[in-house]
Symmetry: C2
């Protein structure tokens, strides 16, 4: 990794070192704050969903399906919408099916196949849980920004989300 030393006075650093643009202190503190908030917020919101017997990923599925036409989506589209692998989604839908929240349905005449469909119970669960969840999101995140910070964060993050989504689409 290092080495590649040349023996004359104007020795350039090894290419790998030369090209490693380590984070500055200001970049580092922001990067760590972002990582911490992302991780701790996920944990805290999950904790506050526990009394409802829902994991945070379950809640996300309920939201996405409740916003879809006829409360159903192709499994492949649901995997894309929730940014997870098909195999991981499949395990999760099995758990949620056992809890009565969703149903897998084959669509006759559609070879692209399997749908996840929100059940009546899934819909009611979402309706019941949403107010508490929104209160959690406000208390631990949204209400802690000024209106200016909120807009500035969106302006900074939206193009990054676009960039990352386009990379993901390619994979």
């Amino acid at each position: 990794m290092d080495a590649h030393t040349t023996d004359t006075a104007d020795t350039p650093p090894a290419p790998s070192e030369q090209e490693t643009p380590w984070l500055t202190a200001r970049e580092q503190r922001m990067w760590r704050a972002h990582l911490e908030v992302a991780k701790l917020l996920d944990y805290q919101l999950g904790r506050e969903l526990q009394p409802h017997n829902l994991a945070i990923n379950d809640y996300e599925i309920l939201v996405v399906l409740s916003e879809a036409p006829d409360h159903r989506m192709r499994m492949t589209d649901l995997a894309t919408a929730t940014l997870q692998s098909k195999s991981r989604l499949s395990h999760q839908i099995t758990r949620m099916e056992n809890a009565g929240l969703v149903l897998r349905q084959e669509c006759p005449g559609d070879r692209r196949g399997l749908y996840a469909h929100l059940t009546e119970q899934g819909w009611e669960t979402m309706q019941r849980v949403a107010p508490d969840h929104v209160r959690s999101v406000r208390a631990h995140f949204i209400d802690r920004f000024t209106p200016e910070q909120l807009d500035a964060m969106y302006t900074a993050l939206a193009p990054i989300a676009d960039h990352l989504r386009s990379l993901r689409g390619r994979s």
Copy 2:
């Protein structure tokens, strides 16, 4: 959830609705941008660690241990530092032990017990992988902010990280 329509002029809304402060459109778009960036960035950084046979959580453990005195930490402290449960950490350390990156050690005379210790191979792996990882973090996140945005993000996020850390500490 809806209904509760008021038929007379001064009927108050149902308590649940009254108290549910739904996100405004501006709050909602920022909240979704944050969630997307957090999730997609985690995915992309993990993908770019794959050629090194490391998961993103493995890399984090290597970083934390490499910054610790004597390259070792109590398992309980490591769980706190990486914000994960002791049982989940234990599974992860077992995998990393099998890969030769860390060692579990009992500390004689210390009843608080088990340490995770970075091996020479773990240290070399971290050194080798770090430049690539930093490049990924820059390309997909840090370099996409202006210096002003970087500082503004830190100013907004740091107190939220403090808040969430204090909640976590209480659990």
